[in-house]
Symmetry: C2
Subunit: 206 residues, 2 copies
Amino acid sequence: MKIAVLGTGSVGQFIASKLVKLGHDVMMGSRTENNPKAQAWLSTQGANASIGNFNNAASYAEVFFLCVKGEHTITALQTVDPVNLTGKVLIDVTNPIAPGSTEIFHLLPELTNQNSLSEELQKNFKDLKVVKSLNTVWGGLMAYPGQLNNGDHSVFMSSNWDDAKVIVNNLLIQFGWREENIIDLGDITTVRGTESYIHLWVKMRR
Amino acid sequence: MKIAVLGTGSVGQFIASKLVKLGHDVMMGSRTENNPKAQAWLSTQGANASIGNFNNAASYAEVFFLCVKGEHTITALQTVDPVNLTGKVLIDVTNPIAPGSTEIFHLLPELTNQNSLSEELQKNFKDLKVVKSLNTVWGGLMAYPGQLNNGDHSVFMSSNWDDAKVIVNNLLIQFGWREENIIDLGDITTVRGTESYIHLWVKMRR
């Protein structure tokens, strides 16, 4: 399957590399066409990997992972021609962490409690099939769930689009998640739960 | 040990009844001295149970559980003579659920993300040793953890007071929580994690 990964940070690299390994055709997208981190990543991959800007990547793929920082999600997608978003499946793995909040971090207030980042994405890009998943674990575990408890732990999924959930479910299983551990929480408003959860799991990681 | 339970709802009743069963001397406190729910509870208990208003209960006990609705926590404690709070251990099991929010509920915005209910309690009652715990499960499971997964699941604890944590840890073990599953998250700011978590766990209960 042609899959794009928007974002060149560690989360994007874990996911893109895993997808290549699984045999998918993968384009890593970034704001600029010749992003050094994307080029470095490309040099370690085989012939089914490529790079481009966000619009190239969205145009290339049927399904794409959104792996940019939370505060950049909407502006990243605004650089894409809307025609390249229509009907596409977006797997949003981000969290709305407020920029600059580190030690005792917090989330962007306008995207918490009575709203969430994914809801805001779905409102802004109505023809995009937004599915939230994987945002409750760190990047390495997203792509390699077997690293923890022999792979026996939960991952969540939220979306208004049932057909998109089927696609994401299949990709999660390819990543190594066990079908019985993939918890469909319901529609996109349930993302409030998995995004807020970061307040708890970052404290457990210390 | 003399223990008070402030609140007469289902959470308060589960905890108070369990404490009586464990052999503690228990006073159930409510806003008024002759609360009908407290009287009904008392009629099912033995000689080591009693009832009173919040101030009676706080005066009676060294340790007390706060089991009123989130929005009433501060006003409940304001009815207590400060001398009856000084040096006492308060086990706060509440969540700051906004009044009237039901189907898609939310938390009181001023007590989330960069603040929490327990932090606000600690700020308002500086001589009280606030420990947050048990707020990540429903009342029946607080008092009877063995009902789920043979008792093998986690409970959290947050406080600025190490001596109070020792007392709470012992009570949790008496309730049936396993020592290895009691996770000390750190100081009172870590309550942001366990209070926000309600957005996720209520969705999993459906």
